[in-house]
């Protein structure tokens, strides 16, 4: 019998409830009107855990026009490289502020991936599994929410803004589902109570009475899970001022750049600081099959201050060491420039950048050939990348779950963390 494929071993929901440090009565102490952040036994444990911010370049950013430039080559395009803070690492002239914080970056120039289009690439680069498999794999965010999140927190454990992943929490279930914010950072659907505060409070009190009556002789877990989630929703509604960055924005605007993406990055910083273990911020417009250079030029002008501002801000607050910032999209872009002045999807040799979270900065991992058409050394797969990310965050990349009766692992068999990247 093969030990890798056993039925019946699974992390039950009970384990999750224990982790959530729910009180014995089944009712989390109501803190309606109280402080934003729950004090719980789990808090101390999860505070020490690392967090992750994913800057998602939706559509697929061009490696040659950003972090793997090929000046003077036919594939080079009109952008010119500038020297970054790190010897040997040149970046695009339109990323001058990023160049100035390049000592924090670990640039992987040798991504070699397997899903060449958008829905499948987005899925694959959020789950490290192929979409066609039909197993409901969870996104990176859901995994991190599960392992590094505090279910007793007032805030969601998996927050995302803009165009992001398409897999959701998959087999990890609704407890780790993404909580979506608008591109502008506004709260998503159904986050505004229609009752006034005092009416809401009165109604909630009646609900709690009904639940406590029922709970007295109904001990099954689903009931508990239902009311726990209800309390979480209420605490979130109370805590939602965290999502209001209008006060911080005027001062932060200069650093992050006056754009939605810049606001998203500030929000991400604020949320990880408040204990949210995973935040994804999507930046649009990278799918430049036509007019690649104007698209990228415009995008980089938003990316440069937002990305560098985020890293600097995290570092200044002492958060960068425990916050991994991942810069990636679903595909890279072709070295060849097509007759629409565009670059198409490319998965054979492209770039992803990691920073913080214990990743050793100021390094380049892997390389491509002179025209950027192939990986020259150290190809990195989706699984290897995810294994690296999980390892950096203190998560076992081979942790096993069951989807139905099928055992599934966080990363595919054979995935290896890139030790050189981890400090």
């Amino acid at each position: 019998m093969n030990p890798i494929c056993r039925v019946g071993e699974h992390l039950s929901r009970r384990a999750f409830l224990k982790g959530a440090a729910v009180t014995g009565s089944g009712l989390i102490l109501p803190n309606w009107g109280g402080l934003a952040h729950a004090k719980s036994a789990a808090e101390g444990a999860t505070k020490a855990k690392k967090r992750c911010i994913l800057l998602w370049m939706n559509g697929g950013a061009s490696q040659i026009d950003t972090f793997d430039m090929k000046p003077g080559r036919p594939t080079g395009g009109p952008f010119r490289p500038i020297q970054s803070k790190v010897t040997g690492l040149q970046v695009c002239e339109y990323l001058p502020k990023v160049a100035a914080v390049a000592d924090k970056l670990a640039v992987i120039r040798s991504m070699q991936t397997h899903s060449p289009d958008h829905p499948d690439g987005i899925y694959h680069m959020h789950t490290c599994y192929k979409m066609s498999e039909r197993t409901p794999h969870p996104e990176l965010g859901a995994v991190i929410a599960k392992f590094n999140g505090d279910q007793a927190s007032d805030l969601p454990t998996f927050v995302r803004m803009g165009s992001c992943g398409n897999a959701g929490s998959g087999y990890l279930g609704p407890a780790h589902e993404p909580f979506g914010l608008g591109r502008d950072g506004k709260l998503g659907s159904f986050s505004t109570p229609y009752l006034a505060d005092d009416a809401e409070k009165k109604r909630a009190e009646l609900f709690r009475f009904v639940e406590s009556e029922f709970a007295a002789d109904h001990k099954a877990e689903p009931f508990e899970s239902h009311r726990t989630a209800k309390e979480r929703a209420w605490r979130l509604l109370r805590a939602k001022t965290v999502f209001d960055i209008s006060k911080e924005w005027p001062a932060a605007k200069e650093r992050y750049g006056d754009s939605e993406f810049g606001r998203g990055c500030l929000m991400a910083r604020k949320l990880v600081e408040a204990g949210v273990p995973f935040v994804e911020v999507g930046q649009e417009n990278y799918d430049s099959h036509a007019d690649n250079f104007v698209c990228h030029k415009a995008n980089m002008q938003l990316l440069d201050p937002a990305y560098s501002g985020l890293l600097t801000d995290l570092a200044e607050r002492g958060l960068l060491q425990d916050t991994l910032v991942v810069w990636m999209g679903e595909v890279g872009r072709t070295p060849g420039i097509n007759n629409r002045a565009g670059r198409d999807h490319f998965i054979r040799a492209w770039t992803i950048v990691l920073a913080g979270g214990g990743v050793k900065g100021g390094q380049i991992y892997g390389s491509t050939d002179a025209d950027g058409k192939d990986v020259k050394e150290n190809p990195v797969s989706e699984g290897d990348l995810f294994a690296t990310i999980y390892k950096a965050l203190g998560i076992n990349h081979r942790a096993k779950h069951l989807s139905g009766v099928r055992p599934v692992w966080l990363t595919p068999e054979g995935s290896q963390p890139l030790q050189e990247l981890l400090g």
Binding site: P78, S163, A290
Partner: protein, 386 residues
Amino acid sequence: MSSGTNENRPDDLTTPRRFAVPDLTKPTQSWTLTWDADWVTSVAFIGGTRKVAAGNNRGGILVWDLPEKPGGDAPKPTLRLDGHTNCVSKLASTPDSKTLLSASYDHTVRLWDTAAATTGEEKLVLNAMAIADAERRKNNGAKVPPPMPATVSVVKASEVFDAHKEWVVNLDLTRDGQTVISGDDGGHVIIWDRATKAVQKRWQVKGWAYALALSPDKKQACVGERYPLVFDSGRHAAIKLWNATTGEATTDLSAEFKGMHMAAAAYSLDGKVLAVGRGGESDGPSGIVTLLDPSNGKKIKALAPGHISGLTDIAFHPDGKHLASAGRDTVVRVWEVASGKLVSELGKSRGGQFKDWVHAVSWSTDGAWLAAADMAGSVQMWHFPN
């Protein structure tokens, strides 16, 4: 004034010139001037001479001496102007043919003395890319074409206008050859004196300055702006008329062309018509030329059909009654301005789903020749019989 029968005084540069108007309904392609090192992105006849200059995506500029009559082998380039280090986005010549202006992504506008001394000769292979490409695919049976060698004299000296700090994406020179308007990706629009390079006026628009034109009387400028984000509320497109003396916007046409990115603008010779053309990767044949009354911004006429996937350039014919438009569909169209009628179509859409572009067009001063800058790596020379 616009009768077209009066003799032109030498200093009258806005009245349409009188000459034997060629038959614009009968275009023939005389030559393809091959230069496949990269996309040919700009083209201009040099004054009233038989010289034509073209610039490419890498910053190269070549000059050809054209035979007087169509036919025979394609002429070879004779001159190379070295100086730019990035895409040449626009070329323009003074009417006296003494100065060629080139705008570039390298942040400069260069001014070339066309009679400057050369600093030596260099050998080129005009179809080097095609050869390299075929060599690569030789195993699959690709036939390697014979090389097309050329020897060019090299000019290295030029004056530099360096007031831009970003890609200079467009430029317009008034017909007297004296005043320049140039614009960049930072949204900076600069009006300057060609002879002294003195900045007369500068202002900044919200987006990037793309379409640019200065009226013959130099009082009005048309600026098409864009910020090329696609799925983002930060995207921006606008077209406005500006008082070129004060740098103040006088008419905002953005509502009329909501969300449309204008790639080209040109005033007619008498300044009574302003033609603007929609660019970008718009869907279908919507790269349309729209004729406006510059005095009030009112729409006169739209010239249909438009260019598939967007328009790139507009050039008024020296007779003042026609204009040519070019687009991302490798087609050049000649239009009669008064009626809005399509007079002729030069070339066909080629390729598959997506076509190469014609980046730019230029008329010879006698109106019998049109040069088109072809992305595929050539200048197409079209002739119209008398």
